[in-house]
Amino acid sequence: MQLPTASTNASEQEFVELRLAQVPLRQTVELVRIDLPPEQAEPLLERGVLPGCRICPVRSSPSGDPIISIDGSLLAFRKETAACLCVRLITQFRDAG
């Protein structure tokens, strides 16, 4: 299932989409889309991992899986999941949209 973002504002289309797995540590990004089937996306959604939210990879586990900070909580998941989270870098222009 593709979960599109609500806004398809032309100016926002210019941002490069990344996978969360590619984001360096301590770089805050905005979640664009979750490329997972609904039953796998739902637990993420319930924990506030929603398109539009800001997440920041803060650490990686000894096996290289990401640990992210979101809404003041730390959340750990597998890199396979991180590869399905489509994100974009946040710049100052973002708030205007």
Binding site: P62, D65, G72, A76
Partner: protein
């Protein structure tokens, strides 16, 4: 929302007729995991709580009584922590069903207390909307306010109350601050309300009622509303906890992390096998001494024999494991309450993923070394259903403490106390380690097999929240231990007590003129001879066979059983030692066969029963029983021929 509630209360007043016999109101406590729900529950109920099972369903319920300031009382039910109501996990289904009033044996709750962690208010308040849709008197508890303030966060609770149309209380459940506000709410809003009329049909789900939206949009809309309310209440997120960050730097470090993990696992085992032993010896001494005292005090009648040879020997041989189980649960409690267990799960995840399990299975499997029953219950935190089933299925291969007495007895009788690897490792210790290893190998193989056959599925997601590190409170640890020992002793009381009495009785008949028959002519022997052909290839005689049958109730029962059988046989012989009797009865090869049989076989009624509940049917426990029996028989068969 507030107006609707007023109408509802009005309707109740009109319909509330039989005031006198009305049971005390039932309040449900709900909230996400790690919000401090258990802590608040313990604060409100103290020791006046009990764990019971709903009849016929897969739920362990925890109900307590709350004393109100005005002298009244009401019942509080603690529901499993959930993030939402998708009913994807067992915990979510349980919570939803109880809230919707669809669980037999428990009324639909009359009011709700929703507890959230105020330090991460925004994501936690996502539960508010679905909960408010239930239209019940609701109190929103903002917990962890001490932490919120200490780390520079704030929130205006009166604004929240106004916007959401519910009462709001700020608490720090750990220190108890604000808990009186909860009591006050219960006293003024719930206890005085009329008992409800016919329960309205209720429904709970993640997607709002009557809205046809893709799930992700429903979530986004709800999140937008929550964010607006939270921003309006001047919520300021607390700064990250520097303490937790520094600890994570070590505990999740590429090199230190796994080392600490290993050290923790070793420590847990040390605690069970080294530190618990003196306490167990103490308990054994007390049990033995009191048995002797009973023998000396009571007149020599059948009743004394029943009490001492039957009940005392049987129950006593199991009670001595209580210290071990308590020490293990103390450790697990510390690991869980401190927040380390979540990190351990993250570290274990990759390993477990490879064999077809996942990180959340780590806690259940570790608990399995004490007892499979709580371990299987703990598997509920494994969100994915197939992973949960796989976890449950392999848990009984973990060497539970009930196997220990059997291992200890047989190893002492058959394995010489000689060094194997110089002074480090003796033959006996090596044998014990080997048996533990055998369990792990069987578990891995089984998980591997399951995930490729019956429970084949796409790899599932693993999601683990890492709460901040906290110092565990004595109160919470103490209540855990009280809870666990209660469960254990109940089991001992029911199963082993009964088995002991039945066994003893069977050794007493048919009577001869001289009283009880020689053991070989007893009713028990006749039963034992029936199963002899099946176990003869393993080199077991009928006495061991009876032990195997009685140990179906619980593994450790075989020790008591053999004690009774050989004890009755050797009646009057002062120097009777069960070990010596066994050395005569078994060859070393069949002793090893018996050990392996115990490593594999599912001889535990409680495990079967809890599996039936947790998997909602006989299919899984039946399959598991046959599978483990087959492995056990094959393992013993081979061992007898190899050694």
């Amino acid at each position: 929302m507030a107006e609707q509630r007023a109408v509802l209360v009005g309707a109740r007043v009109a319909s509330g007729a039989a005031l006198q016999e009305a049971p005390s109101p039932l309040v449900a406590l709900i909230g996400p995991p790690n919000s401090g729900k258990t802590t608040l529950f313990n604060q409100l109920t103290g020791l006046r709580q009990k764990v019971a099972n709903y009849p016929g369903v897969t739920v362990e319920k925890k109900v307590g009584t709350v004393a109100l300031p005005d002298g009244g009382e009401l019942d509080l039910v603690d529901l499993p922590g959930v993030h939402g109501f998708s009913a994807r996990t067992l915990d979510e289904r349980v919570t939803r069903d109880v809230l919707e009033g669809r669980v037999e044996g428990i009324r639909a709750p009359d009011a709700l207390v929703l507890i959230v962690d105020s330090t991460r208010l925004e994501s936690q308040l996502m539960l508010v909307e679905p909960v408010l849709e239930l239209d019940l008197p609701t109190l929103l508890v903002l917990n962890m306010c001490d932490e919120l303030e200490q780390r520079g966060g704030r929130v205006d609770d009166s604004h929240l109350a106004e916007r959401l149309g519910v009462k709001v209380a700020r608490t720090s459940a750990r220190s108890g601050a604000g808990v009186d506000l909860v009591r006050e709410f219960l006293a003024t809003e719930v206890a005085v309300a009329e008992p409800p009329g016919p329960v309205q049909p209720r429904t709970l789900s993640n997607i709002p009622r009557g809205v046809a939206l893709p799930m992700v949009d429903a979530f986004k809309q709800r999140r937008a509303r929550v964010s607006e309310v939270v921003a309006g209440a001047g919520f300021r997120s607390p700064d990250p906890s520097g303490f937790s960050e520094r600890l994570d730097h070590v505990f999740l470090h590429r090199i230190w992390g796994p080392l600490v993990f290993l050290a923790v696992v070793v420590l847990v085992f040390e605690s069970i096998f080294t530190w618990a032993v003196p306490i167990m010896d103490g308990v054994e001494l007390v049990v033995g001494a009191s048995g002797n005292w009973l023998t000396a005090t009571l007149p020599d009648t059948w009743f004394r024999s029943l009490l001492v040879d039957g009940v005392w020997a049987g129950v006593g041989s199991v009670v001595i494991f209580l210290p071990q189980i308590l020490v293990l649960f103390l450790f697990l409690g510390v690991l869980e309450d401190s927040g380390y267990m979540a990190r351990a799960a993250v570290i274990a995840d990759r390993m477990m993923y490879r064999v077809g399990l996942q990180g959340r299975a780590f806690l259940p499997l570790l608990s399995g070394y004490a007892c499979a029953v709580p371990a299987i219950l703990a598997a509920r935190t494994v969100e994915d259903e197939r992973d949960r089933l796989a976890t449950i299925f392999v848990t009984p291969f973990m060497t539970c403490s009930a196997r220990l007495p059997v291992y200890a007895l047989l190893i002492a009788a058959f394995i010489p106390d000689e060094p194997l690897l110089g002074p480090i490792l003796g033959k006996r210790a090596a044998m014990l380690l080997g048996l533990y290893g055998l369990g792990i190998v069987a578990a891995i193989g089984t998980a591997f097999l399951l995930k490729r056959t019956l429970l084949k599925a796409e790899p599932t997601a693993f999601l683990m929240e890492l709460p901040p590190y906290r110092v565990p409170t004595l109160r919470s640890l103490g209540l855990r231990l009280v809870d666990r020992s209660g469960v254990f002793l109940k089991r001992v009381g029911k199963v082993i007590f009964t088995v002991s009495i039945v066994l003893w009785t069977l050794t007493q008949f048919p009577r001869t003129e001289l009283g009880p028959p020689p053991i070989d002519d007893s009713a028990l022997a006749s039963i034992g001879h029936l199963i002899e052909p099946v176990i003869a290839p393993l080199g077991f005689d009928w006495k061991i066979g009876v032990g195997l049958v009685t140990s179906l109730a619980a593994r450790e029962v075989i020790v008591g059983t053999l004690g009774t059988i050989y004890g009755v046989e050797a009646a009057g012989d002062e120097s009777f030692e069960l070990q010596d009797a066994l050395t005569d009865a078994l060859t070393p090869a069949s002793a090893i066969g018996l050990l392996i049989f115990f490593a594999f076989a599912l001889q535990c009624m409680s495990t079967v029963a809890v599996m039936r509940r947790e998997t909602a049917g006989w299919k899984w426990p039946a399959l598991q029983f046959m599978y483990m029996l087959l492995l056990a028989y094959a393992g013993a068969f081979i061992a007898v021929r190899v050694f």
